[in-house]
């Protein structure tokens, strides 16, 4: 165990998921999932399609209520809270299916997170000129300043920009825990190369990140730890290279050993 892990294990976890389960009708989407997440970690959640990854995100962010179990964020039991309350205490997320506020120009899309009570509280109870701040965030995720895409209706943006816009919306909340649901899917190598440093920067700033991913190669390069889900249960939890060696993980992914 290296020094970093030692330090993290001493402190209280920022997020603790205890034995949560959720089923839809007869389908058990998430079954008794447990994990702790420490501040500053980048956790990857992987698993085959339908293994309950997005359900897990929805449970943590309050879009779904768990049938049983407990979710503790910074010592507060946030189980059963409404999504907006969870967002206010500092958990931000992106959506897998990206639906921007289509009619608004890109930078105006960021007005919505910037108008959030959380941001207002963080900036001392004042909103100020949100347009300028919005453009700063867009620049941070790779929209060229004062370029045409900044002013274009978000509905007409290409996929790569939509993903970045989604990320910018998440950043604008200045949350401590950021959950990215399949952010990398559908991005080109070049686009990935510009987005990965943004996430690395987040982690270096001390933010905690959970990434749901299918693009394992890119994920393994930046993740501190990986949780593998299959049929709603955790089948492996550990550092990336080690996890992929395990036989049950290979079985889930490849169908054989």
């Amino acid at each position: 165990m290296n020094d970093q892990n030692k330090r993290q294990n001493d402190a209280d976890p920022i997020l603790r998921v205890e034995n949560i389960s959720k089923s839809f009708g007869g389908v058990k989407a998430v079954v008794g999932v447990n994990f702790d997440l420490h501040e500053g970690q980048l956790l990857g959640v992987i698993g085959p399609n339908g293994s309950g990854k997005t359900t897990l995100v929805n449970l943590i962010t309050g879009f779904l209520k768990p049938d049983q179990g407990k979710i503790v964020y910074k010592g507060k039991d946030i189980n059963g809270w409404a999504p907006y309350r969870i967002a206010r205490v500092g958990i931000a997320r992106t959506f897998q299916m990206i639906r921007p506020f289509a009619e608004l120009p890109s930078f105006k899309n960021l007005i919505i997170p910037l108008y959030s009570p959380r941001v207002k509280a963080l900036s001392g109870g004042q909103y100020g000129d949100l347009d300028a701040v919005a453009k700063d965030y867009l620049e941070e995720v790779g929209f060229e300043r004062e370029s045409a895409v900044t002013y274009k209706a978000a509905g007409s943006l290409p996929h790569g920009y939509l993903k970045r816009l989604e990320l910018a919306k998440c950043l604008a909340l200045r949350s401590d825990l950021i959950i990215l649901d399949e952010l990398f899917s559908g991005l080109s190598i070049a686009e990935l190369a510009s987005i990965v440093p943004i996430i690395e920067k987040l982690v270096s700033e001390g933010k905690t990140v959970i990434m749901i991913e299918h693009r394992l190669r890119e994920l393994f390069r930046i993740a501190d730890r990986v949780v593998v889900l299959n049929y709603g249960s955790v089948i492996a939890d550990g550092i990336p290279c080690e996890v992929m060696e395990r036989s049950e993980v290979r079985k889930a992914y490849l169908g054989s050993e």
Partner: protein
């Protein structure tokens, strides 16, 4: 293969007047100033020149314009109401009851009915704020009809007879100018409101309510605020007409007050408020003008409605706006 395609180009004067600093001729100033000034001038002059019958028509036109604008506003937040009559009726009855039974004078009565009506409607609709789309619409459609039956069955507030002998306005000019000023105020206030940050958040709820929730905004609270704003406008209309006719009764919950604003907004062009305004100023006088021809009136009226909607699905306002801002020409393109 050669094919014709319509090309649209912004007029030079539009491009120049987008930036306020580049106004450098009287013509450019007029280009910017005429569209907002036209409705103001029209509404300020009309009460002075119209005969008394048409002054009443102007009043009900303004009322329908207000209802249409408030409907449009609610649609912009993702709530398609089929029951503007609810807001209208609640306002009417509050004004009627407080004036006749409690003896509250008109000028105190109107603001009270406006705010209280907005509050009551918001509270009535709070349980269904979570409903989306057609489910919300159905509840709003049923609520005014339900209130109407409650009044009939319980015999409260004058029952089927209604309440008569409510104070009317001192003279027709006061009457006209009150509604004209409120209509103009609402038109510009609504147009301004939707461009503010607050308005953008409301609009975003329509586009993607989950995304709005996920940034920490309580969308049900925002929706309740939007309902309150709409409710206030609707209740004001009801309270005002109660004082114009000196009467309030079950017809205040009639379907007309739900459907006509909706068609005015659709014919005029949704999402602009100016469209609702134009729509009401076409449909209501049209309906009055057709009164002379008797039984065929509704047929002709409906026919006009269909023609408008088929020929200009985008709405009259959007059409005019496009013509005002852009050249259109047919160009040949390769296909």
């Amino acid at each position: 293969m050669k094919q014709k395609r319509k090309e649209r180009i912004d007029r030079g004067i539009k491009a120049r007047s987008d930036d306020v600093f580049s106004l450098n001729s009287f013509r450019e100033m007029l280009y910017v100033a005429v569209p907002p000034l036209a409705p103001v001038l029209l509404l300020v002059i009309l009460p002075l020149v119209l005969p008394s019958y048409w002054q009443k028509v102007l009043i009900s036109t303004c009322v329908f314009a207000l209802l249409a604008m408030s409907w449009d506003f609610l649609v912009g937040v993702g709530m398609v109401s089929l029951g503007q009559a609810l807001f209208f009726g609640v306002g009417s009855y509050i004004a009627g009851v407080s004036n006749k039974i409690l003896g509250v004078p008109i000028w105190i009565d109107l603001p009270i009915a406006t705010v209280l009506g907005g509050l009551i409607c918001t509270v009535l609709l709070t349980p269904v704020l979570r409903l989306r789309g057609v489910y919300f619409s159905m509840v709003t459609l049923v609520l005014p009809l339900m209130l109407e039956r409650i009044i009939e069955a319980a015999g409260i507030f004058g029952g089927t007879e209604g309440i008569t002998g409510i104070k009317t306005f001192a003279n027709p000019f006061v009457e006209s100018y009150v509604i004209v000023l409120v209509t103009l105020f609402a038109l510009f206030a609504f147009r301004r409101l939707v461009t503010t940050d607050y308005g953008l958040v409301l609009k975003a709820i329509k586009d993607n309510d989950r995304a709005v929730m996920s940034v920490g905004i309580n969308i049900y609270w925002m929706k309740a605020q939007a309902l309150f704003i709409t409710g206030c406008v609707g209740s004001f209309c009801g309270a005002f007409l109660t004082h114009v006719y000196g009467f309030v009764g079950m017809p205040s919950f009639a379907l007309d007050y739900s459907i006509l604003p909706l068609s005015a907004a659709v014919v005029g062009g949704m999402g602009t408020f100016a469209g609702s305004f134009i729509g009401a100023f076409i449909l209501v006088p049209l309906s009055e003008a057709l009164r002379g021809i008797g039984g065929l009136r509704i047929v002709l009226y409906s026919f006009f409605l269909v023609v408008f909607i088929v020929a200009l699905p985008e709405g009259i306002f959007h059409y005019i706006q496009r013509k005002y801002q852009q050249f259109e020409r047919w160009v040949e393109v390769d296909k």
